[in-house]
């Protein structure tokens, strides 16, 4: 064993231009092992079903029953779909807290000293949230929402199975962007994630149609991926054409990619700032 340092040659793809993407994917894959280990530590199947899922279904039921006492059947179904989808957005905001676990476990300083870009580690290490969130939302949409007048036919289910994880992943990217800032302010992590999910709940068409907001507020809603992915799911529910659904889903994807790019820049800036201040030491 002779110390020559590692070169990026092992199993390199044929196209050199793809190497950074392949390398990033590897980092995400190995970082995801942390996510699933955390998931196993936090949840057993029983705890997930009767603790987390039960709580989320109760929340959806609460808002939907509230809507039913005050509104029409159509409004009730609107609230049922919105809040069912919201559950995955809520869970994905947990990325804000779990990103700061790196500082608590003392690994942040070591992550500053590796050649890989930090955003891919952080992207992978909290992937349990969009996966669990997708499951929660799909169960709520497919099994709870029908109790409140929402109906799905089998042909719509594949679209939901794609759109709900898309909602979760793109919202996760938004949360990742916020997490990069919270790394410097560990004490406000729960405040940031709660404010972010409440804003999404208010602005993105979960309970109140986006069109009812003034244009400035609608502009804010438009940069949040949940607005577009939830719209896509509502289009599926309304039986709209594939092109309209794909258009809304594309906008959600674009927003998610934008937030991921923002997170990439924000994590790089965080690391650069930490190196300057020595704050990566303060873990």
């Amino acid at each position: 064993m002779k110390g020559a340092g590692v070169r990026f040659t092992a199993a390199a793809p044929a196209l050199p231009a793809l190497r950074p993407a392949v390398q990033a994917a590897r980092v995400v894959r190995h970082s995801a092992a942390i996510a699933f280990a955390d998931m196993r530590a936090v949840y057993t199947w029983k705890v997930w079903i009767f603790g987390w899922l039960g709580r989320m279904l109760a929340q959806v039921t609460f808002f939907t029953l509230l809507a039913r006492t005050t509104g029409s059947e159509e409004h009730t179904a609107y609230i049922a779909v919105g809040n069912s989808v919201m559950t995955c957005a809520l869970e994905c905001m947990s990325v804000v807290a779990s990103t700061t676990w790196e500082r608590l476990s003392g690994t942040l300083v070591l992550l500053c000293a590796v050649p890989a870009r930090p955003v891919w580690v952080f992207f992978g290490r909290s992937l349990q949230w969009p996966i669990s969130g997708s499951g929660t939302s799909l169960i709520a949409l497919l099994f709870l929402a029908p109790l409140f007048g929402v109906s799905w036919h089998p042909g719509q289910v594949p679209a939901l199975v794609v759109l709900v994880p898309l909602t979760a992943l793109t919202t996760y990217c938004f949360g990742l962007f916020l997490a990069a800032f919270v790394l410097n302010a560990n004490g406000v992590r729960n405040i940031v994630s709660n404010v972010a999910y409440l804003l999404m709940m208010i602005l993105c068409g979960v309970n109140i149609p986006v069109s009812q907001w003034p244009p400035a507020v609608q502009a804010v809603a438009d940069i949040l991926p949940l607005t577009h992915s939830l719209h896509a799911i509502r289009l599926v529910s309304d039986g709209a054409g594939a092109s309209r659904v794909l258009g809304a889903a594309g906008l959600a994807l674009l927003c998610g990619a934008g937030w991921l790019l923002g997170a990439y820049v924000a994590f790089n800036r965080f690391m650069a700032r930490a190196r300057g201040l020595g704050s990566a030491d303060l873990f």
Binding site: G3, G5, V6, A11, I34, A37, R40, T107, V121, G278
Partner: protein, 319 residues
């Protein structure tokens, strides 16, 4: 070839509240050269600047001024090249993912250095076996003892096969058997011509392992010297230990010129510390003339040099 080259390295932190308003200098115009294949010890009290230097060399901290190079790569301009050629091991239990297994931990860090596929798994398996953790490879890290975690830390530091290894108090928490195994590992690293920068408070460890040591205090180099020569910095002449020394001879020893101290215990054992070679000669002659036959001499230990040059601070930590 030079492995580590540091010139005029300074790291300042803003003045703290209640201080005199001047920046706090964790490193102050620090110079250091470590040759390739050398085991170099960094010794100094808490707050002396050792960890600051280590963190600048492994690119997690930026210097305020001065230069630092690892294998010719500047830590600022060529940070990624430095990261690929340097391994770091910080002391303590933290820095591992407790919910992952030992194998998963190493695979994760290996992936961050660009390893993949068969190379990654063979490297991880080899390191776990080498650290004596092969049987615990699939156990969660939070079920391991402190010593095992420390060995895993070292494996993590070696996962990308670095030429230069920085070990910042790596034997903290190790039991004597593990610490002994650690020393054997360092000898293996020496045989592989790796460069090791070792910070430690264990003088025996530094004396046993290091080719050269640098004594650091107040962010500055006090002295850099080979371990075999470092004793000459403190005093001239070997220390003398003798058994069965009569009281009258002890009194005579204390009156000799060129003697710093004479420590006598109740069982007749005496330790004489001279401050000149002539003092050693005179003390030896006096002991022999007094009929003392159990006499041994030895040069000053690294610990004595450390205490002589830095020890006046006692338990005070630099503010």
């Amino acid at each position: 070839m030079t492995a580590v080259r540091v010139r005029g390295l300074t790291r300042a932190y803003p003045a703290r509240k209640g201080s005199d308003g001047r920046p706090h200098l964790a490193l102050d115009a620090f110079d250091l050269t470590v040759e390739r294949g050398e085991i170099h010890g960094l010794l100094g009290p808490n707050g002396a600047g050792k960890t600051t230097l280590c963190r600048i060399l492994c690119t997690v901290l930026l210097p305020t001024s001065g230069t630092a190079e690892v294998l010719g790569h500047d830590v600022l301009a060529e940070a990624d090249a430095v990261r690929r050629s340097i391994g770091i091991v910080f002391g303590g239990e933290r820095g591992l993912y407790g919910r992952l297994t030992a194998t998963q931990n190493l695979c994760f860090w290996a992936a961050l250095y660009g390893l993949s596929g068969r190379d990654l798994h063979s490297r991880v398996d080899m390191l776990l076996a080498r650290m004596g953790l092969g049987d615990r490879a699939h156990d969660r890290v939070d079920t391991m003892s402190r010593g095992m975690k420390q060995r895993l830390h070292i494996a993590r530091g070696l996962v990308h096969d670095p030429s230069v290894l920085i070990l910042d108090e790596p034997t903290i928490g190790m039991d004597p058997v593990a610490a002994h195994a650690f020393r054997e590992l360092i000898e293996q690293l020496r045989a592989e011509e790796r460069t090791v920068l070792l910070t430690t408070h264990d003088m025996q460890e530094a004396e046993a392992l290091c080719d050269r040591v640098t004594l650091v205090d107040h962010g500055q180099v006090i002295v850099t010297e080979s371990v075999t020569e470092v004793g000459s910095l403190l005093a001239r002449g070997d220390r003398i230990e003798a058994a069965g020394v009569p009281d009258t001879t002890v009194l005579a020893l204390r009156k000799l010129p060129g003697i710093t101290s004479v420590d006598a215990s109740d069982n007749g054992t005496v330790r004489v510390v001279p401050n000149a070679e002539s003092g050693t000669e005179q003390a030896l002659r006096l002991l022999v003339d007094a009929g003392v036959t159990r006499i041994s001499t030895a040069p000053p230990t690294l610990e004595e040099v450390y205490l002589g040059l830095i020890g006046s601070r006692g338990m005070a930590v630099r503010s």
